[in-house]
């Protein structure tokens, strides 16, 4: 279409100015895509820290267990029969967990240090596949299924002066009231970033704990990992309909503060888009409008030789939209690949700052982005809309133009 070709060529008539304006638009768009990716990364890791280590996206246990967990309230290890197939499709993985309290002691008879600890027993293969628990190991290694292994929180290990390979005396009451005692070897020490949790938590293998605490074939909870954590509430509701004896609790009700943030999240993102693009719109408008004013004479001539106002309007609109779409695409591309790079290789900032507990979870000192459709499409669409908006005023001016006046001005 001739108009489009003229539009394209007009853009490059003043190469320097067009490049500069597009540069600005590309920069704003890329920055926006990156920021939205960063915000998502921030939220995503906040949710993961809260859910993956502790309760998964959905926490299944006996009704009321979450409120006050007791050793006796154990449920069968095999629950897959109670989960409907359509829900199963949504589930990425299940991690059974057994929870108890025990005395852990380390050192010789004369000088031994004993601390009460919360014990969680996990299926190490399921954890490796689904949760980030293994990621927290700072020294030694994660569980390998050997029944005499135990992992200690950094604070707990320091308190009982235990290190990799030290002998730990495990002393507790089994579910049948009998004494549960065993000698375990420290396989690894972990640091989850939450000091309180690290100074009172130990992790061991599920099989060993079941045998030790007389809970064979039974666990206290199942932690479901969903493909999309945001659907936790909806899937929990469907589960509750089908689970006979158990109760499914979504992470939103376990971490209300994070759920609050989620509600306002879209609002925050739109606010950010509005701010970036308001400034960008003004700048781009400046350029387009000036370019238009300069070419009033030219438009008048074109009108004189017979182009209708409507066609001229299309010309101006096409120029603006071509520029906006091109910059939008390039900007989104740059921003998206920045997000992808930071998604697969997040930058570790722990040298400058520790992690911070926040609303039950913890903010990790890493620069981490999550590319998502929304954080790519939103800026692109907004940019095209911007291109359209910026061209409206000049087009309106065009309709009020009287060719003779413009010609004389030339």
């Amino acid at each position: 279409m001739m108009i489009l070709r003229i539009g394209w060529r007009n853009l490059w008539r003043n190469r320097r100015r067009t490049q500069l304006t597009m540069g600005a638009m590309i920069f704003a768009c890329a920055m926006l895509v990156f920021s939205l990716g960063y915000y998502d990364g921030f939220l995503w890791s906040l949710i993961n820290n809260a859910t993956e280590k502790e309760n998964g996206h959905i926490f299944i246990a006996l009704p009321g267990y979450y409120a006050n967990p007791t050793l006796e309230d154990a449920c069968p290890e095999a629950i897959s029969s109670q989960i409907l197939p359509d829900v199963k499709a949504e589930i990425k993985g299940v991690c059974p967990r057994l929870q108890a309290y025990a005395l852990l002691s380390c050192g010789t008879d004369e000088e031994n240090r004993t601390q009460p600890a919360q014990i969680i027993a996990v299926d190490y293969q399921a954890e490796l596949a689904n949760s980030k628990l293994a990621g927290d190991i700072v020294t030694g290694g994660f569980l390998t299924g050997d029944e005499r292994e135990i992992l200690l929180g950094q604070g707990l290990a320091r308190r009982i002066r235990a290190d990799i390979g030290s002998e730990i005396i495990f002393f507790s009451n089994a579910a049948d009231g009998s004494i549960a005692s065993e000698i375990l070897l420290v396989k690894g020490i972990f640091s989850s970033g939450e000091n309180i949790r690290d100074s009172s938590l130990a992790i061991m293998n599920l099989k060993a704990a079941q045998q030790l605490l007389a809970l064979d074939g039974r666990v206290h909870s199942h932690r479901l990992f969903l493909r999309d954590p945001m659907q936790a509430e909806e899937i929990a509701a469907r589960l509750n309909a089908s689970l006979k004896t158990l109760e499914a609790t979504p992470w939103q009700s376990i971490f209300p503060q994070i759920a609050d943030i989620l509600k306002v999240w879209l609002g925050v993102q739109l606010f950010t888009v509005a701010i970036y693009y308001a400034a960008m719109a003004l700048i781009t408008f400046n350029t387009m409008y000036m370019a238009f004013l300069e070419r009033m004479h030219e438009f008048a001539v074109m009108q004189a030789i017979g182009l209708t106002r409507r066609l001229l309007a299309v010309l101006i609109l096409s120029e603006s939209i071509i520029m906006a779409t091109a910059s939008g695409l390039i900007g989104t591309a740059i921003g998206a690949c920045a997000n992808f790079i930071l998604f697969y290789h997040p930058i570790d900032l722990s040298r400058w700052m520790e992690s911070i507990t926040w609303g039950g979870s913890s903010i990790q000192p890493i620069l981490f982005c999550v590319p998502s459709l929304l954080s790519n499409l939103l800026p692109l669409l907004a940019m095209i809309l911007l291109g359209f908006a910026v061209a409206v005023l000049p087009t309106w001016r065009l309709y009020r133009l009287r060719p003779v006046e413009a010609l004389r001005e030339g």
């Binding site: 004993t114 601390q115 009231g177 005692s181």
Partner: protein, 252 residues
């Protein structure tokens, strides 16, 4: 030879040992405080050795334990599990305020930290704290005889203003004839019974009257109890000097 009853059977409770001289002390109008103090001083330096069966029934399990015990006064106590075989050899040693658990199966010793005093002992309704308790009842409670039915006397103890005890009120029922406790009840500050200890099957051993069975019942957990029954007990026993020590635990 003076007689006394094992302190560990009762928490902040009192036991009475009549002396062999027959009824003299039973019938005398000793007031509550003298009654209690007399009991308290009985235990200084008394030694015992015996076997006991413990039946623990809770909401989720039902357990039978057989224990061998040694004690010296109220300060020192040693128990060793005889049955079930899985836990055979596990010992608990209490000296003054400290408690150790020795687990024979893994040949290891654990000292119970102060923050775990509230935990249950061996899964029973007794807590570590009950074992350690050697506070002087008469120093913590305002004791008064509140009822006298024939030879059964009821003494009520109101805690003194700054006494560090959790109960609002304690009630003892004592058979002054055999000078043995019938029951002990613990109330909170709204006079709601929280916990009670009932004694039964009184027998005379070596001129001492002794309740052979003590049953602890937590009121807020219906159907649950811990029952301790003496199978045999011997007071005139010579105990090795270093019996109550960590070293001796190992070579049991």
């Amino acid at each position: 030879m003076k007689h006394f009853l094992l302190a560990m059977l009762m928490t902040a409770s009192m036991a009475w040992a009549g002396d062999s001289g027959g009824q003299a002390s039973g019938s005398s109008e000793l007031d509550a405080v003298a009654l209690v103090r007399a009991v308290e001083t009985q235990y200084q330096g008394e030694r015992s050795h015996g076997k006991m069966r413990m039946h623990i029934k809770t909401r989720s399990w039902n357990r039978m334990l057989e224990l061998e015990m040694w004690s010296e006064g109220r300060e020192k106590l040693l128990t060793r599990i005889l049955a079930p075989v899985k836990e055979r050899g596990t010992c608990t040693l209490k000296v003054d305020d400290d408690i150790w658990n020795y687990i024979s199966r893994i040949d290891r010793l654990i000292k119970i930290p102060s923050s775990l005093m509230g935990d249950s002992w061996m899964g029973s309704h007794l807590t570590n704290d009950d074992l350690v308790k050697e506070n002087k009842v008469d120093k913590l409670y305002q004791l008064a005889i509140t009822e006298r039915v024939g030879k059964d006397v009821t003494i009520t103890g109101k805690p003194l203003p700054d006494a560090a005890v959790v109960w609002g009120k304690i009630v003892y029922k004592i058979d002054t004839a055999s000078l043995t406790p019938l029951l002990v009840e613990y109330y909170d500050e709204e006079d709601v019974k929280v916990r009670s200890m009932v004694f039964s099957e009184f027998k005379q051993i070596e001129q001492r009257w002794l309740p052979m069975i003590a049953r602890i019942v937590p009121e807020d957990k219906p159907g649950e109890f811990t029952e301790m029954q003496y199978l045999e007990i011997d007071f005139s026993v010579e105990l090795p000097r270093d019996l109550f020590s960590i070293k001796s635990l190992r070579n049991r």
